[in-house]
């Protein structure tokens, strides 16, 4: 059996690459890729930490999304420009694509109980991720932090 420490390390490496690579499918031009990759690591590390502490998956995902949004706000201020890829890429490993797919697969196979269970999990996960982003993005707008170069950016 693989060492759990190495398994976590492997997951974080996959989260790093897994944040950068799908962003290219959405037109990411490749600039500032390290920040996008770290965004994935930050979100997944916080999620794994939450699960290790015994939190439920939606709570851990909420915390992971908060961490990604915090990182994205920090990068936006650090490079003084909006960088949507940091947020989108970082959230990608947290988006419940697999669970949604499993729910629909179960639904089409008439496995109604499993479909309900997976569908509920997917919705809870998606809402948790969205709430995490909203919470941190909202707080960042309220706090008197130094703004990006284009301070009127939406």
């Amino acid at each position: 059996m693989a060492d759990p420490g190495w398994a976590v390390f492997g997951d974080l490496v996959l989260a790093f690459v897994g944040a950068i690579v799908p962003a290219f499918l959405f037109g990411f031009d490749g600039r500032r890729w390290p920040w996008v990759g770290v965004s994935g690591v930050v979100g997944w590390a916080v999620y794994l930490g939450g699960v290790a502490l015994g939190w439920t998956a939606p709570v851990a995902l909420f915390a992971g999304a908060c961490a990604v949004a915090l990182w994205a706000e920090g990068v936006a201020r650090g490079v003084r420009e909006p960088v949507p890829a940091v947020l989108v890429g970082g959230v990608f490993p947290l988006v419940p694509g697999l669970t949604t797919f499993q729910a629909l697969e179960a639904l089409l196979r008439h496995q109604d109980a499993l479909a309900s269970q997976k569908g509920g999990q997917a919705i809870a996960a998606a809402v948790a991720v969205a709430l995490g982003i909203l919470t941190l993005s909202g707080l960042a707008r309220l706090l008197p932090l130094p703004g990006p170069k284009n301070s009127r950016h939406p």
Binding site: L14, V91, R152
Partner: protein
């Protein structure tokens, strides 16, 4: 700039933001900020496929415009980033009409998207998420190769602009056929583990999350539209996968 000059420009800028995947709130706040920076009053209402604008200075008639935003609600992060970055320059009261128009025109035209980069991205995404979801290296490698082939086919047929639902369904059918072949080539490979990595190149995860963000901001109509669109795409993908799995692998 006067409201008559600014309103069409603002509509074009907002349309680029919408077409490249901005949230409704981002577009509305950007447009309100733009009019305020130029000293105009404004009313802005944005839906996923349309922008309704009125702007005026006190004591004058409002200038109103409706802009239908055509095309899919796809995401183009590079153009979105460039369009968002225009908020500062466009808000400069000293910027002339022609200069502002040139800035917006620059982001309106979609740049060429490199096919090889998209194919590589699809291949890598399938492989990475194949491993992320617990697949073996061999299964991930198979998913990588098959996803590259399917992405190449999608790019080759893009000129016919198939609807997103048809594109998702056909692509998922071909991806799943590839996953069904995997156990013949890789002993012990699971078609389900292979296909879950592969379909990540099709799942509209960004649209699903954006839809939820929109509803939490109170943009219910656009949010429901976005969620319905993303949900139908996901259903089409799942339908393709399930149909092929049921046909080729009854115990799957």
């Amino acid at each position: 700039m006067t409201p008559r000059e600014l309103v069409p420009l603002a509509a074009d800028w907002g349309a680029v933001l919408l077409a490249t995947g901005a949230e409704i709130r981002q577009v509305e706040e950007g447009l309100y900020g733009l009019f305020a920076a130029h000293g105009h009053h404004a009313e802005v209402f944005v839906l996923l496929k349309g922008i309704f604008l009125s702007a005026w200075t006190p004591g004058t008639e409002p200038v109103s415009l409706i802009r239908h935003v055509r095309g899919g609600s796809g995401v183009d992060l590079s153009r979105l980033e460039k369009a968002l970055a225009l908020a500062g320059p466009l808000a400069d009261p000293d910027l002339g009409d022609r200069q502002a128009r040139a800035l917006v025109d620059e982001v309106q035209a979609p740049g060429p998207r490199k096919g090889w980069a998209l194919t590589l991205a699809a291949a890598a995404t399938a492989g990475i998420y194949g491993l992320f979801f617990g697949g073996t290296v061999a299964e991930a490698a198979w998913a990588t190769g098959w996803a590259a082939a399917v992405q190449g086919l999608r790019l080759g047929t893009a000129r016919w602009t198939p609807p997103a639902l048809v594109d998702g369904f056909v692509a998922s059918v071909v991806l799943t056929l590839g996953a069904l072949v995997a156990p013949w080539v890789i002993p012990g490979a699971s078609p389900v583990r292979v296909v879950t990595g592969e379909v990540m190149i099709l799942i509209p995860g960004v649209a699903l999350v954006n839809g939820i963000k929109d509803v939490l901001h109170g943009d219910t109509v656009s949010s429901l539209y976005r969620l319905a669109e993303a949900g139908l795409q996901t259903a089409a993908i799942a339908a393709g996968v399930v149909l092929v799995l049921a046909w080729g692998w009854p115990h799957g």
